[in-house]
């Protein structure tokens, strides 16, 4: 999706402004959004790519004006509705019309399980014997594609040539898993020279590395 979330290379946002002695959260409502989102997600009604894509579908003008946790809140409401956890009416009234179905209640994250869930994390690697399309050292070009759904291929790399630096192994493919599909494939660290991406004004020494899947890449003549 060519959304405003795909920010790499944009101008006009001004300097980066670090805050001294920044707290982990600035407001109690931010803590709640973080925890509500994590706990709801742990039920397994959506995966990480669905969650990211929910944030990305916030209307662009709103997305740009929103803070990080406002985006999370908007995405959480969207996920709860789309995945059928709550109804529109419940969201509007803030009152439950029906308890969670019994089969879902068993999947609710309980306090005693939190530490274990944090330690276990997710598993995005796929233990499946799938051939790699590229070897380390191969010259590749990122495809010039513009999928309207979820994708993790930033616009600034599309059509640009790079070199495979590392094969991370077989991973779930976000474009598919964001819509509940499965298309596991090799994931690579691909090095792009800064000048290939940004032209001659960039430093001749610098490079940007992106993690890209087989379906984002074609073979290329060396850059």
């Amino acid at each position: 999706m060519n959304g405003v979330h795909d920010m790499g290379g944009m101008h006009g946002f001004g300097p980066v402004q670090p805050e001294r002695d920044e707290p982990v959260f600035h407001h109690d409502w931010e803590k709640k959004v973080f925890a509500l989102r994590f706990a709801s997600g742990a039920m397994g009604k959506w995966n990480i790519d669905m969650a990211r894509h929910a944030n990305e579908r916030m209307p662009p003008a709103e997305y740009l004006a929103a803070t990080y946790y406002e985006r999370w809140l908007n995405g959480l409401e969207r996920l709860l509705l789309e995945r059928g956890v709550v109804t529109r009416r419940e969201l509007e009234t803030g009152r439950s019309d029906a308890p969670l179905p019994a089969e879902d209640r068993a999947r609710v994250l309980r306090a005693g399980a939190v530490d274990g869930v944090l330690t276990a994390g997710g598993n995005y690697r796929v233990d499946q014997d799938i051939a790699a399309r590229f070897a380390v050292g191969a010259a590749v070009v990122a495809r010039n594609i513009h999928p309207p759904g979820a994708t993790r291929l930033p616009r600034y790399a599309r059509g640009r040539r790079g070199v495979v630096e590392r094969d991370h192994g077989v991973f779930i493919f976000p474009d598919a898993s964001a819509v509940g599909g499965r298309k596991p494939q090799h994931l690579y660290s691909v090095r792009f020279r800064a000048r290939e991406l940004w032209g001659d004004a960039a430093s001749a020494h610098d490079a940007v590395y992106l993690d890209l899947w087989d379906d984002y890449l074609d073979p290329a003549q060396p850059a």
Binding site: E22, F25, A35, L36, S40, E70, H205, A207
Partner: protein, 214 residues
């Protein structure tokens, strides 16, 4: 940068007569719905918040860095399989399932960003600071990394190679900063004190040594 990039500065509209802002009201309504419906356990929410406020933060990553500075065999394991090496110190899990450590040197400087959202290695650094999630950082880190580093007061020589790591997948990156000069006599715990969050993202150097020049 727009003021809205800084949520601590962000003024939320307060509906007339309410001491709560609109977003606070919305979050309270959502929380009470999800608790009432049985989707979330309030005690689990508290445990999650407490974990990231008090248990999981950049002191974890600092221990990894200090160990790598003092133990060459550990440093090798970190290069070969960072996920396993980080787990040796007891860290891992959510948003750090697949770790890669990138090393700074006199020749190479690494910088980590996520241009598409705000991916960040939680088990070793905790939750990301506001600036890391800001539109400004996400936009500029890839196109103008040296300018971003100048925003942090770090000026790199022209012949240093800047490597920017855009976290577009589930691989999470931790920068291993250079060990500051003059720290030969320090213990691993003392060294860990010199390792800041910013140094492990790549927008600062570690150190300096106590009493040393910055």
């Amino acid at each position: 940068m727009s003021r809205s990039d800084h949520d601590h500065e962000h003024d939320h509209a307060h509906p007339a007569g309410s001491r709560f802002s609109e977003v606070e009201v919305r979050v309270k309504a959502l929380e009470s719905l999800l608790v009432d419906k049985g989707v979330v356990d309030p005690a689990a929410l508290d445990r999650l918040i407490d974990s990231y406020e008090h248990r999981i933060g950049p002191r974890n990553g600092a221990r990894v860095v200090a160990r790598a500075w003092t133990d060459p065999a550990y440093r090798q394991r970190l290069q070969r399989d960072a996920t396993a090496a980080v787990a040796e110190l007891g860290y891992g899990g959510a948003q750090g399932e697949h770790m890669v450590v990138v090393e700074n040197s006199a020749r190479v400087h690494n910088l980590v960003v996520c241009t598409l959202c705000s991916c960040y290695p939680w088990p070793v650094l905790g939750l990301p600071p506001v600036w890391y999630k800001s539109n400004a950082y996400r936009a500029r880190a890839v196109v103008d990394p040296r300018g971003v580093l100048r925003d942090f007061g770090l000026e790199l020589a022209g012949d240093v190679e800047v490597r920017v790591w855009d976290s577009t997948a589930e691989i999470r990156y931790l920068v291993l900063p250079e060990r500051p000069a003059g720290t030969e006599g320090l213990s691993e715990a003392q060294l860990a004190e010199l390792v800041t969050r910013d140094a492990m993202i790549g927008v600062a150097r570690a150190g300096p040594a106590p009493g040393g020049k910055p």
